[in-house]
Symmetry: D3
Subunit: 209 residues, 6 copies
Amino acid sequence: MAKGTSKAARPAKKPRTSATAGADTAITAPQLPPAPLSADMAAYFAKCEEKLGFVPNVLKAYAFDMAKLSAFVAMYNDLMLAPSGLSKLEREMIAVAVSAHNRCYYCLVAHGAAVRQLSGDPPLGELMTMNYRAARLSKRERAMLDFAVKLTAEPWLVEEADREGLRRVGFTDRDIWDIAAVAGFFNMSNRVASATDMRPNSVHHRQAR
Amino acid sequence: MAKGTSKAARPAKKPRTSATAGADTAITAPQLPPAPLSADMAAYFAKCEEKLGFVPNVLKAYAFDMAKLSAFVAMYNDLMLAPSGLSKLEREMIAVAVSAHNRCYYCLVAHGAAVRQLSGDPPLGELMTMNYRAARLSKRERAMLDFAVKLTAEPWLVEEADREGLRRVGFTDRDIWDIAAVAGFFNMSNRVASATDMRPNSVHHRQAR
Amino acid sequence: MAKGTSKAARPAKKPRTSATAGADTAITAPQLPPAPLSADMAAYFAKCEEKLGFVPNVLKAYAFDMAKLSAFVAMYNDLMLAPSGLSKLEREMIAVAVSAHNRCYYCLVAHGAAVRQLSGDPPLGELMTMNYRAARLSKRERAMLDFAVKLTAEPWLVEEADREGLRRVGFTDRDIWDIAAVAGFFNMSNRVASATDMRPNSVHHRQAR
Amino acid sequence: MAKGTSKAARPAKKPRTSATAGADTAITAPQLPPAPLSADMAAYFAKCEEKLGFVPNVLKAYAFDMAKLSAFVAMYNDLMLAPSGLSKLEREMIAVAVSAHNRCYYCLVAHGAAVRQLSGDPPLGELMTMNYRAARLSKRERAMLDFAVKLTAEPWLVEEADREGLRRVGFTDRDIWDIAAVAGFFNMSNRVASATDMRPNSVHHRQAR
Amino acid sequence: MAKGTSKAARPAKKPRTSATAGADTAITAPQLPPAPLSADMAAYFAKCEEKLGFVPNVLKAYAFDMAKLSAFVAMYNDLMLAPSGLSKLEREMIAVAVSAHNRCYYCLVAHGAAVRQLSGDPPLGELMTMNYRAARLSKRERAMLDFAVKLTAEPWLVEEADREGLRRVGFTDRDIWDIAAVAGFFNMSNRVASATDMRPNSVHHRQAR
Amino acid sequence: MAKGTSKAARPAKKPRTSATAGADTAITAPQLPPAPLSADMAAYFAKCEEKLGFVPNVLKAYAFDMAKLSAFVAMYNDLMLAPSGLSKLEREMIAVAVSAHNRCYYCLVAHGAAVRQLSGDPPLGELMTMNYRAARLSKRERAMLDFAVKLTAEPWLVEEADREGLRRVGFTDRDIWDIAAVAGFFNMSNRVASATDMRPNSVHHRQAR
């Protein structure tokens, strides 16, 4: 009765190697030796260590070239941290909903943790990574995420009616720009991360659970 | 400069209601009053309480009708717990990878926790919910999940070449049936859960992190 | 002028082997030897022979394992035959519309025949297998099938508005469960059948034409 | 217990109106009064009556304008009936596989019947309408249908490698043209039929079962 | 630091061969020797030379067989040039919007030029090839193109509500037929062109810019 | 015979308003008043005027906020103009092929013109906007665009095998990063442009034809 018996019938006997082995050391598949940090970037990395306890792996990934690293940091910090009609939590919710559409492991882990932390509602982070439509959201949040995800999935279909939908729940024209810019940014980052098999800092997995 | 200022500029002042409020009390959107538990099912619920500390919400959801509940339990327990060439972890990995394709909140929360527990490798659970292709898997695991997800996404394209792919990494014909049956079962459960807005037990969120 | 002449210019001279050769003997691609029928299942098979004149191939396919066969039969009979707000014809219409989306040969043949028989309107069976939107249906039937097919194609998009659509044409919360459960069940069966290349009983082809 | 009882609990009491009522009288949704038949077309319709016993509804649909009817007939007859490296059955198989992808009710009914008749293998017609990949086909037939369906689904992806695949199983460059032209023609007809809700002659349903 | 330097670091030194080399001589990948032109077709080709300054490559491609060429010309001229409730520009706009969905190089080049010429608004031709939704269109034009593109992308979803949408902006039942027929025709031509790698006349690139 | 006559039978009598009216004055749908240019940005705009003869509309669109404008300019110039294993033409080809997948009017017009200019082969620009697979490309170019477009369409499927494909035609790990970064950047820009209905400078339409 060989047919009924798996040739590999006891696959889990010896402990599995972790599915994320080496995440914090070999950050991307392309091997790009780090360049010397510029003074600005060295200061920024030090600030990360101090405030977060670690340097996000995406920054280490970009650190093979100071021009690229600086441009990324400047754009990221402006979009996610500068004053905006969108709260920081809202911007992180967009980041995760977009990354969920694109099934980007790096961004889901890192920004899912941010949603858990900023909201103080850990399941909200899970919902954003799994299906934002299943979350109990305000009309404003829902309209914002519907716009961001439509822009992610079928950008060619976004039109004035979609912008009107945002205005109806209170968003200004400047807010519309910010929603688009954050959604756009993660459509970029998701692809850089997926193209390079970028691994998130393992510390995120237990944050704010 | 009204255009630059959001009408809703301070959206996060008062604490947000949890995005999962009421998860453990109003389990599904359709309101179906529970039927009296049969003796068998009462015993089974008691065993769940004893072993897990809770009754999984999906069982409570089916408990409006004893015939439906019993049939579900019989099929579930046979597929996920009975002897098979697939380990229990492998069956849970299929459950989560399929549920990720279908973006099913209930199943991702409940079975993501199971993968974390059974593997002793919490990030593996995250990887299955986010993008199984980003996990460091054995050839056997990868072939198994590729088959299950193709069967989920485009079942009409599955052919002998796909079954041959499974045989090449050591799966028997009986294993092929089991992979198909588990993938099929979660394609059913994902849809019952999504159709009814089923909410997972909140206890899962912190399990095995 | 060789270019204008096919090397295989007379492909249909000798009679083609039937495109379904062996349908009633080699039911699935995985070869799983039948287990001895339990008393219950032997009685059930006998009842099939008596009432239908044959045992549906799907039952023979599951008969390599009595636990699996019993669980399948219990769930199938409850869903398709037990009292419900949905008529038996309505449940079969869901079965076929879902199977058409999934392009499942086994289920389209077997349940297409059931729609022809139960409705007394043979073209209705054809319409369900080809494009249910082209059928002249009641609002109730159309809403039911639209829900079932959306749940099949993009379960992650099903929300309260979809359930409301069903309630508006007279479906109760219990009916919504039943529509979801039947649609879910065939999303499972379609995949088990496709994964195993299951062949329908050839008798169906001429039934109720 | 109102929730458990359907408001529409007895939907099937009075006989259903046929799902195809009026198929042979109101052939398309747009109402375009027939023009007087030209001598050529009158002769052609008479020949249809004599040979088939009926005039195909698609011809009646085009008969509001003789220029359009003649052009359609000329192209159809050349493609489907003129000498070719493809047998008539092969051309009908392409017609049905393309129409199945496009879920065109008219063409599936009319050309599904043609496959049943020409092949003498009724289930082959069913297979073409349901999922041609489930049929037991020759390599030549399978390559031909794979090409036709890829050309239907994603024409922008068809390249030299696809043409090479056809040459490898014996098709000439002229055959490649014919496969493309038949597949293209049904991509046109499927859309004219769907756009106008064209109804097939009801006689097809029972042909060659 | 070999990793940072491309092995192919100076790819553009010598002039690139044109990406469309040979467009006007080797028109299709299948090599089908031209048949002698019939008197009718010779006259038609002469008229093309006289009026346009060239014979469109699609006609040369069909010229291996006079029956096919004549049928194509008859249908094309009736659809695009005969009296209709649709202006010639409108028919060309449908041609390009459909071809853009299907990403057909031949038809986009040839009919994009026609839209530029007929409209006297060169960017309109660009918009049709890129994303017709970004053009400033009348309600009538937009409804027409939305119908044509839905019919192209998902013909199985076109229903009475779509036809009603056309009637609401002033289209008659006959116009609906014409929109469907033009959209259908280019769904055919796009596929014949893609299947055969048909190359457009190079003269189009500079027309009406 | 009213049915045969369009209510709008002469739609093209009076000259159409251009489909791109106002392109150079109202650049985006959200109306965001420009901020005073910083010294750096004023110098940069002046350089654009001097070198190109105009300031690209995308820069004017970002000019409501100097931090956003500077970050965009820094990232854009690094990616598209800094030394790289990819030629400038190759980077523009990626830009257009990605924008074609996303059907982004702004980027197709602006970067299509860049491909025409840099290549000296105007049809190459057309091919990139229509279907890059129809262009006669080197193996290196084709592999590069296949990677960029897969990363655009289904980033979750990009894996080591895809990177290996690039290495096989001579790309280094650093080149892989650059391909990913350029493709990622246009996935961002396409979405910002589509979300805001950004209009390209009309001068592009006639460049390098």
